[in-house]
Subunit: 97 residues, 2 copies
């Protein structure tokens, strides 16, 4: 579940992300595997800075970032903050999960 304020923020700032259950999911396409790994490392550095860690799924040509706040059992503003930071680096997600 997502509270109304957070849902409004996601709709406004993160429209290309998908809310799936308790997760906020963004997916990007890349031309090869190395680009996907490089993007994962970049998001990983943002995660370390925020001390908030997503699950990353990647392979040849794609990276998926899955955010939730385990301690809350829900999406929180920390997820939206990290999604916004990832989006600032990678651009908006370009493929639905």
């Amino acid at each position: 579940m997502v509270d109304g304020v957070l849902a409004a923020r996601i709709a406004a700032e993160l429209p290309a992300w998908t809310v799936a259950g308790e997760e906020l999911v963004g997916r990007w396409r890349f031309p090869d595997f190395a680009s996907a790994i490089a993007a994962a490392v970049h998001v990983g550095a943002l995660a370390e800075r925020a001390d908030h860690h997503p699950e990353l799924r990647l392979g040849w040509g794609f990276l998926e970032v899955r955010l939730t706040t385990h301690s809350a059992g829900a999406l929180t503003s920390r997820d939206a903050d990290l999604a916004a930071a990832a989006q600032a680096v990678l651009g908006a997600p370009r493929q639905a999960p």
Copy 2:
């Protein structure tokens, strides 16, 4: 499906890996997020060298490597080769998927 020769090789060389449908899956635990990212980068370098690319799933304290041969629609010796290379670097997987 896995042919008999490959199944025997997996049983002998890769007993801590799990065959799940068309995938060969290994999962490792780590003490933090940075270690999981570092391991993913290492496996990614092995994948680039082999020109054979797994799906990687990682988060705080874990890395999962999922191998299949898309062109064959099945597990092949290329998957076992890359699994063995990853295992040589990271040790045997230490947690079932």
